[in-house]
Symmetry: C2
Subunit: 240 residues, 2 copies
DNA sequence: TTGAAAACTTGATTCAGATCAAGGTTCTTG
DNA sequence: CAAGAACCTTGATCTGAATCAAGTTTTCAA
């Protein structure tokens, strides 16, 4: 596991301070977290943790994108989670990872050894409460993804994926400007996340472009031309 | 919502006492839970909570089976969770349900008004710790289901579903006896859970019977004749 | 007890997306 | 900066499961 320890950033200057597992921690609590944290970076494509590995640490994603993946015995794979900045990696109270975690872009982690973190959890209600919220939010997200995997068509899947990226990266339309997005995954990884093939992903993205819904500036960047059309193309009811 | 209040059962005599959200509660804590609980029953087929409804209560399933479901705007449906005895329904801290919850067999719930339960959570670390465990276990289960929905074939889906039923109902093979199982869902609901059609579910079950893996005694009951063959038919790696 | 509805099975046909195939474009690195 | 490797696109064909169809069996209410 190729990784590199980088300079510590002060928690109060941290870009994910207000959204991560530490968001509800007060100054004293933050000080104890600061004690036990380490920053590491992982290059795009490198594994962070394999299925079956001992879970030595938990972490928040500070920057970059990682995938949580599953594999069947014959090699078919499914990405079961997309981890963006402020998301929490690892599971307190579990010895071994059930999933492969792979850096999809260059990733910076704010890492805690598992044992000290578990101690912190047991003694700091603010942090354990935040972790419940995070777990329940992820559970809702996983269940939303289940209807996508089970019942949506290829074009609905692509539209839902792109809408989700826009929503989760907190990208807003600023007076008339159309949102511009970077795809953090290759066509192949998008296919693994949506349960399609890379050919189908490619074709459906081309179709959305031809329909005038969006416009690719290069293979990994696009502008949304018609946000409402994209929303309608997801097949979803209005969100609650 | 047709429901019926039934006689209270004492917590210490409760069949799910050792597995539900109350499992780590001590005697004092159990006493406070006993204060605010109510038992209700729901007939097979009746809704317990619709998507968009205000969440007035949370509950443990004492007996029976309920489904958590999602619907797309054109009516396509996906069951995103199967709730068995000791499972927890509802989400503290959320105002409205994101899912339809429907009794699939007759169901008995041990119910708590949401607000008093949230108070209990905030003041009873044992219960909130247990709720984190439950949420994280459900998250793992949801992610396991994602690879089924995305990448498994129809026959692997059926084999996985039947294996899961055996595992979650804690049915053991007792000296040579083959496990006998009741299907708690109709073919149509199984199809909604596995993202298949009811016709495909029917055909694949017939195929497993013809292959000698299992044997139906009637439409809702079967014996497993070859547990190893069933396990192999799931397509999974060995579990960790 | 019986008639209708619900649940299930089996067969024929269709189709969305997979697979197979052949190139084109953009990175990477020596 | 050249060449190989990744990554992506587009086309032709195939296939697993959906859809359409026609029954049979079971359940349940009147």
């Amino acid at each position: 596991m190729n990784q590199q320890i980088v300079t510590r950033i002060k928690c109060k200057d941290c870009p994910i301070r207000h959204r991560a597992v530490c968001s509800t921690a007060d100054e004293t609590e933050l000080a104890s977290m600061e004690q036990i944290k380490t920053y590491t970076t992982h290059r795009a494509g490198e594994p962070i943790l394999w299925r079956g590995d001992e879970i030595k640490f938990v972490a928040s994603i500070v920057d970059g994108v990682a995938t949580l993946g599953q594999t069947l015995e014959d090699g078919r794979t499914q990405v079961v989670g997309l981890m963006l900045p402020s998301d929490f990696i690892g599971r307190p109270g579990r010895e071994k990872s059930k999933f492969d975690i792979v850096a999809s872009t260059d990733v910076t982690l704010c890492r805690f050894e598992r044992k000290p973190f578990e101690h912190l959890l047991a003694t700091t209600p603010h942090i354990s409460q935040r972790l419940v919220e995070i777990a329940l939010d992820e559970l809702d997200a996983a269940r939303d993804w289940m209807i996508l995997l089970g019942r949506k068509t290829a074009s609905e899947k692509i539209a839902t994926f792109l809408s989700m990226l826009i929503k989760r990266q907190h990208i807003e339309r600023i007076d008339g400007m159309q949102p511009r997005l970077a795809l953090p995954l290759t066509r192949e990884k998008i296919a693994d996340y949506l349960a399609l093939t890379l050919e189908t992903v490619s074709r459906q993205m081309t179709a959305l472009q031809r329909a005038g819904v969006l416009e690719f500036t290069d293979r990994r960047h696009f502008n949304v031309l018609d946000m409402d059309a994209l929303r309608r193309a997801t097949g979803d009811d209005e969100p609650l």
